[in-house]
């Protein structure tokens, strides 16, 4: 078998990588903001019958229970009928952010709930309000605990970001996968191009995973999150 890799693919692939990274980073950041709020509401937003809790739960179940692709197409093709027109990048970003927020909400909820109950009690006992206690005692611990599941979610979203190529028609809106598909459909070097694309995804995954490992290590505190280690 005769494999051909052409260096002239690289500039276009690099542009695709840049777009993939942007999509991933932005959607994870937006998802973290929204997910944290949803997670907090699911824990502290009053009982099972409070409207806030109910809304947050409905959101989480809806976005986890429907395919990301359907969500994207609804936003990209459906919203314009209501007068909201988004470009392929924006539509992809919005769909991914809304989707990952639902998953992240669950990770935040889990992390918040795994902070020991005595922590809140002790914070309230020195006179902190509930908001202060959450902000200065619960969240700093929960955020450390959430890093591992959050890293997984980051890897998923990096790979799922390839769905934007479903709606991207113009070259400047192509992500890594979109660029690869375009190159391969011109020169029919499917095996080489997609292998290369896959390797780039793998490299990005490793890079981001390592970055988060580093962050996790930086903020690690003895006795928190890593049982058996760090004591």
């Amino acid at each position: 078998m005769n494999l051909v890799f052409d260096p002239s693919w690289l500039p276009r692939l690099a542009q695709g990588i840049s777009l993939t990274l942007q999509l991933t980073v932005y959607c994870m950041a937006l998802g973290a903001g929204l997910g944290m709020v949803l997670g907090l509401v699911r824990v502290y937003g009053g009982g099972k019958f409070s409207p806030l809790y109910w809304l947050a739960s409905a959101y989480v179940h809806f976005f986890r229970g429907t395919p990301l692709l359907v969500q994207l197409l609804t936003i990209y093709y459906g919203l314009p009928t209501m007068g909201i027109v988004l470009g392929p990048f924006q539509a992809g970003l919005v769909a991914m952010a809304l989707n990952t927020a639902a998953y992240q909400a669950e990770y935040f909820r889990g992390a918040i709930q795994s902070v020991k109950a005595g922590q809140m009690l002790a914070a309230r006992a020195v006179g902190m309000s509930r908001t202060q206690a959450v902000r200065h005692v619960i969240l700093p611990q929960a955020l450390r605990l959430v890093i591992p599941p959050w890293s997984n979610e980051l890897v998923y979203m990096l790979k799922y970001s390839s769905i934007v190529s479903m709606t991207a028609l113009r070259p400047e809106t192509w992500d890594l996968f979109g660029v690869g598909r375009q190159i391969a459909s011109r020169n029919f070097r499917y095996f080489e191009v997609y292998t290369l694309v896959a390797l780039f995804y793998l490299a990005l995954v490793l890079l981001l995973t390592l970055a988060l490992r580093w962050v996790e290590k930086r903020v690690r505190v003895p006795g928190l999150g890593t049982p058996g280690r760090g004591i």
């Binding site: 020991k116 002790a122 200065h136």
Partner: protein, 249 residues
């Protein structure tokens, strides 16, 4: 005037009435030791005093401030009541210094320098200045409990509540915590201590309060309660815990 007045506290969990009308009074500088069998409502009583647990009925006054008033500023009141937990509950993610400093910064609104100085002074008071930068997981149980006492003391409390402060500790670490508490009592702190350390009770308690089944069965000075309790059950319980825990402390 009494520093703390507790009147007819009631608390029920489901079908179980845990507090069935508990009343007690503490003068400033007084130390009361609360004893009683497990599940009798001792922790519930302490938590109702600063409303970490909401009592169903009854009233609590700290000086002339009604803690149980509907519009009471609970955060402000709690800052004046130090609470020491059985399992320490130090903030896991913070160093000893930051554990003591957090309340000063966020509740008292102290500046950073002043708060640091104050926190260091409190750590020194409990003999842990050298451990200021250690995290709770790096401290022994006795050290953690002393930091948690320092954290409470830093807020300048009018009253200290101790809920079995030494019962999670290995025997050899109990002494160092009791020593801090004895010192506090001698300095005139007003305190309620739930403990079965009878040596401690004998040496610093002005009164021992015996609780059982959600009520106070008997209370009085240690000498009286040990020598001639009015209720036979009190003497029985005292003998039992004296055997179990020994009297040295």
């Amino acid at each position: 005037m009494a520093l703390l007045r507790v009147e007819d506290l009631h608390k029920r969990y489901g079908h179980e009435e845990v507090l069935k009308g508990v009343s007690l009074t503490l003068a400033a500088g007084e130390t009361k030791v609360v004893i009683g069998p497990s599940g009798t409502g001792k922790s519930t009583l302490l938590r109702c005093i600063n409303r970490l647990t909401e009592p169903d009925r009854g009233r609590v006054w700290l000086g002339d401030l009604e803690v149980t008033a509907r519009r009471a500023d609970l955060n402000k009141i709690r800052a004046q009541i130090g609470f020491v937990f059985q399992d320490f509950n130090l903030f896991t993610h913070l160093t000893a210094l930051d554990n003591v400093r957090l309340g000063l910064l966020k509740v008292r609104g102290m500046g950073r320098r002043e708060a640091t100085e104050r926190a260091m002074a409190e750590l020194e008071r409990v003999g842990l200045k050298a451990k200021a930068s250690a995290y709770p997981a790096q401290l022994s149980g006795g050290q953690q409990q002393r930091v948690s006492i320092a954290r409470a003391l830093a807020m300048d409390p009018k009253l200290m509540l101790f809920d079995e402060p030494t019962s999670a500790l290995d025997p050899e670490l109990i002494g160092e915590v009791l020593a801090v508490m004895i010192q506090l009592a001698k300095e005139g702190m007003t305190m309620i201590v739930v403990t079965h350390e009878m040596g401690f009770a004998r040496s610093v308690a002005d009164e021992i309060v015996f609780m059982e089944g959600g009520v106070i069965v008997e209370q009085g000075p240690p000498e009286v309660l040990f020598r001639s309790p009015k209720v036979p059950r009190t003497g029985e319980f005292l003998r039992k815990i004296s055997e179990l825990y020994g009297e040295a402390g």
